[in-house]
């Protein structure tokens, strides 16, 4: 059992380093922010959920936004950017459809956008854990 001085020392130790690292890591790689904070179970579940949603969206031939011609495209692009490296890798590999032609591709587009938004929530959660706002 940790004594009071030990707890303070442990807390001070965990507060060292770049405070935004879990936020940035969590955005770039789903779950990485939680892994950095040694929240292995939470990180694994987040990684599987967000990456799984993104991959299923791509498998459904969902659209990956490459530019913003109007407001809706801009919002879709903002959502897609939330996926971090997954988005950039998908762009480089040229996966995803340019045009939505079947119903499932429309579902896929939404899966990809929502995966990005969920990843942003997960990254902010990692930041809150890092700052001590959440335990």
């Amino acid at each position: 059992m940790a004594t009071a001085p030990n707890k303070i020392a442990t807390k001070q130790g965990s507060q060292q380093g770049f405070i935004y690292l879990p936020l940035i890591a969590g955005w770039l790689v789903p779950g990485a922010g939680h892994f950095l904070l040694r929240k292995w179970g939470r990180g694994a579940l987040l990684a599987v959920s967000i990456t799984g949603m993104f991959v299923l969206g791509v498998l459904m031939h969902g659209k990956i936004y490459t530019g913003a011609q109007d407001v809706l495209d801009m919002l879709g692009m903002a959502g897609d950017l939330g996926n971090g490296l997954l988005f950039f890798v998908a762009r480089v590999l040229g996966v995803g459809a340019d045009q939505v032609q079947v119903t499932t591709a429309d579902y896929g587009t939404k899966f990809i956008v929502v995966a990005g938004l969920l990843n942003v929530i997960a990254a902010v959660d990692a930041h809150n854990l890092r700052t001590g706002r959440k335990s």
């Binding site: 987040l46 459904m60 499932t104 997960a122 902010v124």
Partner: protein, 59 residues
């Protein structure tokens, strides 16, 4: 190409979104699980309910 039915797509969407909501919105594992299940039921339940409403309107 993965071509799920509308219902399977709803269930998959609800599963992934509920998992993230549960982990990020609550602090203890027990409350995370409860909140995740609550979100999942609301996602799927509201989709089924709205489907029936639209079906009855369209008749």
């Amino acid at each position: 190409m993965f071509q799920p039915s509308h219902f399977v797509a709803v269930v998959l969407f609800a599963l992934f979104a509920s998992t993230v909501f549960g982990i990020t919105m609550r602090e203890t594992p027990r409350r995370m699980i409860r909140y995740g299940i609550y979100c999942f039921v609301l996602f799927v339940g509201s989709a089924i309910l709205l489907s029936w409403v639209m079906f009855l309107i369209a008749r």
